[in-house]
């Protein structure tokens, strides 16, 4: 499994380079926005994959709660998977929030607007940072259960956030007219979109897998320490009983 991961690294690198070439040299220049529109290939890919990682984290959290009593060892790997996905999701979300203003400034003339997508992405970011904060502050031994509960609440909130912000903004339309990419797309644009999506998916999965293994290692070390502590107390008890 780990060897596969090291093969995955150059493959993802190659994909990223190919996606970059597609986006920068082969896809046609957009009529109104010019070259700045090319950030779209990254923005679109990363924004969509962010939801995938949060979704995987949600599923793994449910899995953790479902088997935490019946199969504690399996539950540990679910928890590691949930955490790894949430972390990659937060990183991707942060990338989206940084790319957005970079693109918006030259095109819309402003860094930020309280538009439906921008606002709901920001709230999503806040929710998952809260998830990571709880993991940091929770009392040892209860972290995983509490975090799984928050992940479920957070993901339930995602559609409500999205629709509420959307209604809010349809009631008060924002003055900004985004140069949407959905008008008369050149097929070469689609090629670049798909390659970049694949490349960033590969990259995110790889980050997630590395993080998953490192969390698993931490978990095993903690288990060994706990076991060693337990055995140490047993030794003391044994010596006491001998006396």
């Amino acid at each position: 499994m780990k060897k596969l991961l090291y093969l995955w690294l150059p493959a993802t690198g190659a994909l990223l380079i190919y996606g970059f070439m597609q986006a920068w040299y082969i896809a046609p220049t957009e009529a109104t926005m010019g070259n700045i529109q090319r950030i779209f290939y990254y923005h679109f890919a990363i924004a969509n994959l962010m939801f995938l990682f949060f979704f995987l984290s949600f599923i793994a959290s449910i899995g953790y709660l479902a088997v935490r009593r019946s199969n504690p060892l399996r539950a540990q790997s679910f928890d590691a998977f949930a955490l790894a996905n949430a972390e990659v999701g937060v990183v991707y979300c942060a990338c989206v929030l940084i790319q957005g203003p970079l693109w918006a400034r030259p095109v819309w003339g402003i860094w930020w607007t309280w538009d439906e997508r921008l606002t709901s992405t920001l709230i999503l970011f806040l929710i998952y940072v809260a998830y990571l904060m709880v993991r940091r502050f929770a009392v040892a031994g209860q972290t995983q259960t509490l975090a799984a509960v928050i992940a479920i609440f957070g993901f339930l909130d995602v559609p409500i956030v999205y629709f509420s912000i959307r209604w809010w903004r349809t009631q008060h339309p924002s003055p900004v007219i985004g140069g949407g990419p959905n008008t008369g797309l050149d097929p070469r644009i689609w090629v670049a979109v798909w390659w970049n999506l694949a490349a960033w998916l590969g990259w995110g999965l790889m980050l997630m897998a590395f993080r998953y293994y490192s969390i698993r290692r931490e978990q095993r070390r903690e288990q060994e320490q706990a076991l060693a502590a337990l055995e140490a107390t047993l030794d003391i008890r044994g010596e006491e009983s001998k006396r």
Binding site: L65, M133, A138, V139, L146, I160, V161
Partner: protein, 224 residues
């Protein structure tokens, strides 16, 4: 039937505690009053403006005040290990959660009843929309804050830095409910839009998170 009796027992205990100490209500009331006064000094609103902003100020004041009650709600159960004995009792944990949420709901409602006249005086309010809809918006919005707040207060008991964690988790998750409540209230005050869509949003939010809270409370209560 036993469920109702258990719920009544939980409710009676919490109400008795609050009736004897009055910690939560007095703390919340004074704090909310301070928030309202400070906001009106900070914004110095005229009548037309105050209609547009007072929905927001009302809900921010209620949110902050509710957090005070929520922080005390479970903390008082940790003294003398009451929470552990509640955990051991055969009564359903979901009922414990429901009773706690109902009591907090009652406290915040009392706060609203006292705060409302003051608010109208300070901000020179008279509503231009259908004011009876506030009777829907206020309970729905309050329940949205209180059900999530009660749940996360119980969760944050098990963290270092309990009071901070409650805020960090409750605020981002409640944003849609807060947005709905603020926009609905503002719509009633100004009479320009219909608040119906936001009332529906609040209903959906309440149903989803009350269900999630009832189902998952057991997990939080016995987390270890």
């Amino acid at each position: 039937m036993t469920a109702l009796r258990q719920l009544a027992a939980h409710l009676r205990k919490d109400l008795l505690l609050e009736f004897r100490s009055r910690d939560a209500i007095i703390g919340m009331l004074f704090f909310a009053l301070l928030v309202v006064v400070i906001f009106s000094l900070a914004f110095d609103p005229t009548m037309a403006q105050s209609r547009a902003i007072s929905g927001g100020i009302l809900w921010v004041a209620l949110l902050f005040a509710a957090v005070i009650a929520l922080n005390q709600a479970w903390a008082r159960e940790t003294r003398h290990n009451v929470l552990d004995s509640l955990r051991m009792s055969p009564a359903s944990p979901a009922l414990l959660f429901l009773a706690k949420a109902l009591v907090n709901f009652l406290f915040v409602t009392v706060l609203e009843l006292i705060l409302a006249p003051l608010f109208i005086v300070f901000y020179n309010l008279h509503t231009l929309g259908e004011s009876w809809k506030l009777l829907l918006i206020l309970p729905l919005g309050t329940w949205a804050l209180v059900t999530n707040g009660t749940f996360f207060a119980a969760l944050s008991l098990r963290t270092r830095n309990r009071e901070l964690i409650l805020l960090l988790v409750l605020f981002p998750l409640s944003i849609p409910a807060l947005l709905g409540a603020v926009l609905a209230t503002t719509a009633v005050f100004t009479g320009q839009d219909s608040p119906d869509l936001w009332i529906k949003l609040l209903v959906v939010f309440d149903v989803i998170f009350t269900t999630a809270g009832l189902l998952l409370f057991d997990v939080v209560l016995s987390a270890e």
